[in-house]
Assembly symmetry: C2
Homo-oligomer: 367 residues x 2
């Protein structure tokens, strides 16, 4: 029953959207009608931002607004312990930024671009501060796309083109994916006529949960254990024989290959000549798919987005605890696009609860 | 239709709860079975915190944990522009605090008490910092309840007992009110197995919206215009004759008197000898109820919680832009109680969306 409390609202339609179509049966993901493979191969994340926010494919290259971190945001980040979770640092940066900018109702696409541009700068600054380094001058990376800006903000160097391109494709496929828990959070907050920064803070908080943000470094650990494509067949056969789950394969929604994985593989194949870590991922995937088809011929598991996500994030040099923050930075596009849509069309989201507590009772005597 | 997207999920049951019963027909509000009037008259907010978090009426007086603001939280607050919205400052303080304390899964009642104790200290510190004053030493207010701590954190002085008692009753009736948009936000975030600070940040963000946090200073503006009970009858008659809405009367859910208003009036009557601003509110309410009954004899509007909320917050000396932050501080009890309940029983909350966007289309040529 859709309205049953134990369903977690599964099957209950909470919003109409024109932003993306997640078609699990056909293995299709469309952003505003455009297939994710086309976007990853021929687009760029910054243009996808324009598509998601404005609804149409931008005719010219988009460049995000500059993201010089203000003294307000820097004070918040500098005050954090170096041991804190980077996603908490990102949430705090968004919160301080929203406070400073007084992001009042109604939300705008310009505000969304500011928040999207803030993400790479804030994650990079925190990554450097906890390493006892100063944040980079973000003016040096204003010509770059958001994905390349993240690499620059972490390293302070002009990023390697193959790495930047691979991360840009990752950002593209992670930019949006329908009404998941974090995107729903952003819509609920926006439905009260609250501001965009509040919506994004809430969404980052929801992404922190293990049931949503997941454990994206597990694929990387698996590939590290395999080490070389020559060991892949034996390693995978043994894992399957022990009944273990192969990380990076199988998906709750997609019954066939996850279109985001397919899109990232396509980009990886083109870049593999310049990045041998991508070649290893492709080769191991081929072995894994062959063995998974042998293992369950009727319903073989297919590659999911986590597989290439982990490969790309490791390949571009991100520490594992920056994987989910990088995802959050990319997903800020989807969160804000949904918030804008909710602001345009939505009503206050306020479901009911069912009271199953004690009957009315008097306070204990003598209180 | 409950699952219709345009309903804002109204009528859809998203959670079972034992925390509170909002009974609009009978004008009853129960916290874990105890009637709000009993709690406001005989309880204290700090004990209500124990009731909401632990499920049973605490046999001894509760005192919240100390709330000395850490250098991390102070750095975040000091970095904010003095012009920023106090609710944004509170959200940022919660975020920085959560980052520092690494509030990981699962949430606990002890974590909840830390967040509830942080609220008064953070709002008070921001109120002083923007006034170019130093935050008070919170060790001086550790013996006080949360409501009195808020007054101390703002003024730096031991609060007047009648004011502290009135604000405590306000905190009590605002501590919890079922599955509104901010509480639902806290439950959605928690349903991903995220942490309590993330849930509270999201909830503060939702409360910022005008459709949820409302405009609580409007009653105060009205009372300021009336000025004296002798002018009340003429002022109210003229307002009703002009077809204007009387602020502080009528409620979406409660068909009879809002039980929170009734509870606060009871407290106000006892305190009126020591606080003449409470006597004015009581007298004007009597006039208003009489005239509203004349105006619509079949379905006269009754006092709602906003009426006394505004009176109490003005009476204790809060600036109007601290009204909603004070509410947020009190409601942190309900938010965290719901988060704990969600963590115990709930599943990932992930409703569906309906795609109504463009059909699949190719990227424009030349991209």
């Amino acid at each position: 029953m859709p309205s049953d409390v134990n369903s977690g609202l599964e099957g209950v339609v909470a919003a109409e959207t024109t932003i993306s179509l997640v078609d699990g049966q056909a293995g299709r993901l469309l952003y505003r009608g455009y297939e994710i493979g086309d976007l990853a191969a021929h687009g760029s994340y910054d243009r996808v931002v324009g598509l998601l926010l404005d609804g149409e494919w931008p005719l010219r290259d988009e460049v995000l607004p500059p993201a010089e971190l203000s003294p307000t945001v820097l004070a918040a980040l500098r005050g954090l312990p170096t041991s804190c979770a980077p996603l908490d640092a990102l949430r705090t940066a968004f919160s301080a930024f929203g406070a400073e900018r007084r992001m009042d109702w109604p939300p705008t696409a310009a505000q969304a671009r500011e928040l999207i541009a803030l993400g790479p700068a804030a994650v990079g600054a925190f990554a450097r501060l906890r390493d006892n380094k100063q944040p980079v001058n973000s003016a040096e990376s204003e010509h770059l796309g958001a994905a390349a800006r993240l690499l620059h903000a972490i390293t302070g160097e002009e990023p390697d083109p193959a790495k930047a391109r691979a991360l840009d494709a990752y950002f593209t496929v992670c930019a949006e994916h329908g009404l998941n828990a974090s995107t729903f959070t952003a819509r609920v907050i926006t439905s009260t006529q609250s501001d965009l920064a509040s919506a994004v803070c809430g969404a980052v908080g929801a992404l922190k949960g293990r049931l949503h943000g997941g454990a994206p470094s597990e694929v990387r650990d698996q590939l590290t254990q395999i080490g070389d494509v020559e060991h892949a067949e034996v390693w995978i056969r043994e894992a399957l024989a022990r009944g273990e789950r192969l990380m990076g394969f199988g998906h709750r929604v997609y019954k066939t290959m996850d279109p985001r994985a397919a899109a990232l593989r396509q980009v990886a194949e083109r870049l593999a000549a310049d990045a041998d870590w991508l070649q290893l991922a492709i080769d191991v995937e081929d072995v894994a798919l062959r063995l998974l088809a042998e293992h369950k011929p009727d319903r073989p598991l297919k590659t999911n987005v986590e597989y290439y996500a982990s490969i790309v994030l490791d390949g571009v040099g991100l520490l594992t605890d920056l994987y989910t923050p990088a995802f959050a930075v990319a997903r800020t596009a989807g969160w804000t696009a949904h918030a804008l849509e909710q602001a345009d069309h939505g009503r206050l989201i306020r479901p009911d609860s069912r009271y199953v507590g004690p009957e009315q009772r008097p306070l204990p005597a003598g209180v």
